[in-house]
């Protein structure tokens, strides 16, 4: 059964159907979208169940010739890393649909509701596609094409500065993507294998200088996408201006493509260059961790603040990827998932607050917990997950990253660990200002979470807590894939330091 | 012997080109273009003599035809714009700018 193709086709068909719903019947469009996204989630789960961690590296593989002239294939398949990221997308989309129920019909929306949801489904298909692609060209196609629905979602449905933010987002990503295109072309031309299939291209480039140049092309694109310091400046704008749902997908999934790409393509295709550039990347990551955290502290806008925390978190992920140890790699992958959930939850809750008060600024709030205890409660849980409190999901991953890094690079690991402290400051201070203290006048009329909103946050909170205590299912899937990656990179293996290490060993 | 003709043709061509660049009246500009075409003809005929074949002379015929066609089209355009603007100065035609 062509699972992955079906996974992509269902949202696309759904998007078309949504776009064709009669005008004025917004509710039908929303329900249809929700139904489609739930179907996708169900399909994803059905597929994930069949995934065998001990089986071939890539499973559910489909390969068809697409453009023989360029050696391009329609090649999809997942390993553990891709699988969990696809699952992340599939989980987040229904939640985002629910959360965005009224986003598009707010007064500053410029376009129809059904367009928003249609774009959302298109985006979902592309997110699945980008993780599933085993053909580098196909990956690039999804990588770039993904920008367009996101661009329209930010530009049409975002906040006051939306068009500026949307353009900035698009141009940054596009520019990065174009440099990657050069590298992709170079890879194809220099490898001379007349194929873009990822497995066949591993080890195709031996010349160190060439590797470095191509690595630079790929890495730049991923660094912009991730975003790594100093290529991050688009993210706060985009995330702050995007509607909450779009911001969740942007930070939760889209940006993961960057770190995913580093892990999958940069490392495996250009192992020597990766080792060569590792110090640089680690420096960037560490700077990003600290910088993101410090700047986050100074933010007055909730969404911007969350965006800066993400920059800090992406520093961790990149650090984990380039530490090139099994723990760090697995941790980074896990972090991608967890970060998706926790930051997603933060954005959504910030969105709920903003929907109530109409202002993203922290100073406009105060004493929320007294008025709306449930809202404040989930806010706190999400926040704590963001600062990696033990027992919540992020902790496991952050810890694995730090341990894994420390195995090899002690000093950066220690510096990065200070990021955890800073995280506590920015999260808790924000919580204190928003939820604690005397109740502000404007907050008085707030209603607590309604049924829909509860349905939105409940799964997220459940996942955050559940994965915090029992990440094994995910790690079981992730570990073999990370091992495989590191074997390709040919780094010497380190002994496992964590008990949760996959049972397969 | 033929070099002098080439020099002459180059001179004519340069005068024409310079005229196109510095003159402001559309008709004068246009006549300078025609001068350039005729410089080409001279060069063709000279080279034809140099090579001892007739190609260059035949080409000169074609160039004359083209020049004539250009005259017809060009004057039509210039006259039309002149009737509209009562001026044939290139500078006056300045609606299109970057």
């Amino acid at each position: 059964m062509p699972w992955l193709t079906i996974l992509m086709a269902v949202p696309v068909v759904g998007a078309v159907l949504v776009a064709l719903t009669p005008k004025g019947n917004d509710k039908l469009a929303k329900q249809l979208t929700l139904a489609v996204s739930v179907v996708v989630l169900a399909l994803t789960i059905a597929m994930a169940v069949q995934f065998s961690p001990k089986g071939n590296r890539f499973q559910f593989v489909e390969t068809y010739e697409w453009i023989p002239r360029f050696g391009v294939h329609y090649g999809v398949g997942v390993d553990g890393i891709a699988l969990v990221l696809i699952a992340l997308s599939a989980v987040l989309v229904p939640i985002v649909v629910l959360a965005s129920w009224h986003d598009a019909d707010s007064p500053n929306a410029k376009r129809s509701v059904k367009t928003y949801f249609s774009l959302l489904l298109v985006l979902e298909a592309m997110m699945i596609g980008v993780f599933a692609a085993t053909d580098i060209f196909l990956f690039y196609v999804f990588f770039e094409a993904m920008l367009i629905p996101m661009y329209f979602m930010i530009g049409s449905y975002g906040g006051a500065q939306r068009s500026y933010a949307a353009v900035k987002f698009l141009l940054y990503s596009l520019f990065g993507g174009l440099l990657m295109l050069v590298a992709v072309i170079g890879l194809y031309a220099i490898a001379g294998k007349n194929t873009f299939m990822f497995p066949e291209l591993i080890g195709a480039i031996q010349d160190p200088t060439t590797q470095k140049w191509l690595f630079a092309g790929f890495f730049f694109a991923f660094a912009v996408k991730a975003p790594l310091w100093p290529f991050h400046t688009w993210l706060p704008d985009a995330a702050a201006q995007a509607p909450a749902g779009a911001a969740v997908l942007l930070v939760g999934v889209l940006d993961k493509v960057g770190t995913y790409g580093m892990l999958r393509f940069c490392l495996e295709l250009f192992p020597d260059a990766s080792k060569f550039f590792t110090p640089l990347v680690i420096v960037l990551s560490v700077v990003g961790i600290i910088y993101g955290a410090i700047v986050a502290i100074g933010q007055t806008d909730m969404k911007r603040l969350i965006a800066y925390t993400s920059i800090s978190h992406f520093g961790f992920i990149a650090l984990g990827v380039f530490a090139m140890t099994n723990d760090a790699g697995a941790g980074a992958t896990l972090y991608m998932v967890n970060h998706g959930f926790s930051t997603g939850a933060l954005f959504l809750i910030a969105g709920f607050l903003i929907a109530r008060r109409g202002s993203p600024y922290i100073e406009d709030y105060g004493g929320v917990q007294k008025v709306t205890p449930k809202l404040a409660g989930v806010f706190l849980i999400a926040g704590l997950s963001g600062l990696a409190l033990p027992g919540l999901s992020s902790f496991v991953s952050e810890f694995m990253v730090l341990i894994g890094t420390a195995e090899r690079y002690m000093v950066p690991a220690i510096i990065a660990a200070t990021g955890v402290v800073l995280a506590a400051i920015y999260i808790l201070w924000m919580y204190q200002r928003v939820a604690g203290g005397p109740t502000a006048e404007s907050v008085k009329g707030f209603k607590d979470l309604n049924g829909r909103e509860l349905w939105v946050v409940a799964p997220l909170v459940a996942l955050i807590i559940g994965l915090g205590f029992y990440p094994k299912p995910l790690l079981d899937v992730i570990n073999p894939a990370v091992d495989h990656t590191l074997v390709s990179v040919q780094v010497e293996k380190f002994t496992p330091a964590i008990a949760e290490k996959g049972a397969g060993q | 012997m033929t070099t002098e003709y080439l020099v002459l043709s180059a001179l004519l061509f340069a005068i024409g080109a310079l005229g196109v660049l510095i003159r402001r009246n559309a008709i004068v500009v246009f006549m300078c273009v025609e001068l350039m075409l005729n410089a080409c003809n001279l060069a063709f005929v000279t080279f034809a003599r140099m090579h001892g074949n007739l190609d260059g002379q035949i080409i000169a015929f074609f160039v004359m035809v083209v020049a004539a066609a250009e005259v017809v089209v060009g004057l039509a355009i210039i006259v039309t714009i002149f009737r509209t603007r009562r001026s044939a100065s290139v500078d006056d035609a300045n609606l299109l700018k970057y």
């Binding site: 453009i67 596009l174 174009l178 | 080279f47």
Partner: protein, 516 residues
Amino acid sequence: MNGIQAPTIEYGTLAPMLVIFGAAIIGVLVEAFAPRYLRKSIHVPLTLLSTAGAFVLVIFQVIGGVPTTAAAMGAIAVDGPALFFWGVILVLSFVSVLLVIDDDHFVASAAAVPGSAAEEEAEIAGGAHTEVYPLIMFAVGGMLLFASSNDLLVMFVGLEVMSLPLYLLCGLARRRRLLSQEASMKYFLLGAFSSAFFLYGMAFVYGFAGSVDLAKINAALGTVGGLDTVLLIGLALLGVGLLFKIGAAPFQAWKPDVYQGAPTPVTALMASGTLVAAFGAVLRVFWVALGNLDWDWRPVMWGVAILTMIVGAILAITQTDIKRMLAYSSIAHAGFLLIGVIATSPDAEGNAASLSAIMFYLLVYGITTVGAFAVVTMVRDAGGEATHLSRWAGLGRRSPMLAGVFAFFLLAFAGIPLTSGFFGKYAVFLAAVANGATPLVIVGVVSSAIAAFFYVRVIVLMFFSEPAADGPTIAVPTAATAAVITLAAAVTVVLGVFPQPVLDLADKAASALFIR
């Protein structure tokens, strides 16, 4: 004197071109003899059918086997690339003609002074100049000739047959007559200037080689010594003439003015068909005639290509008129195409790859361009087309379909994946990297990114801005215009997803390279 052999002409091989010229001549006869009210209804089917017929003839030739020797005593080379270019030009002119059908674009009486009673009278009498159709046919015939000439003289004739009708067509816009006439005059003066350069270059190349036949010139490169200066002067001047036609910097100045002033359907034809034909000629001159000299011209062309891409992309940003912006975009695209021209390789296979990439690019760019200009024709206000960018604000609100299609075309120009433009660019870049022009590709990519900025700006304007209260109306498209937009969008999508068949075709056409 007695050595004259009666020449031969392969009428069968040249049939597509002859059909077009024949239709043009019949068109003139229709102008002469048919009563005024009948003319348009004769012209439209005549033009469309002959274009389609010529296209069918091209297909027959492709099926029946591509000729391997030049036709008409070596003057015209109907080889694989030429047939491909012919096909593309014919398709593009067919769709451009569909745009022309809408009378609203063309002046009722070109000779009438704008604002005069005569003009008003002509307007009231209705209709437009039906001479447009034969003129277009002549221009198309010229394009076919230009792209397939195997001889500099024929190339020059083709150039003029193509350009002269276009000079006139530029001045026929119904609205903004002054602008249109000015465009016409500028195009004419600069075009004539550049063709003089081409001609002088041709004279010098002839002086060097003793022949204007491309193959003989190439042969002479190896055998004739001592005339290097003559050759280099000729080469430079020829280059100026050709680069002018494709609008490469620093000879790009005419493009924005002309594109803006000309009636939009004519702009569509110029931006698509002329570019294709001009690149056909550029390739023939630089690859066939001067192929052995690539060490001399390549550095210069590098500079030109870089300058063209950068100038096109950067100046486009400052534009406030949609047609001017598309003109600068066309300049930038010419730069990308030049990368392909430069990407020659010592072996035939590499050259074939570059050639095929250029041909594919031209096809997809041409179709998208026609589509984009078709959209431009539909956004109108009281003064005709509303081309100022500020008038496009909020178009996405007013007419989501149209704006969406236009945005899609812009994304194709920007080279976003899943549009045909992406594969066009990709093919050219791939060929360039394979043939060692990677730095050019990087410049190309950077300018693509710059170019993306102004495409995106238009999208922002259309979708994210408030529509003006008195904004332009969207004309109800004529069936033809709708068909053009639909076709262009469909091609852009289909070739963006599944380009293989067309790539195969281009490969096949390019595989044998140019015959000499």
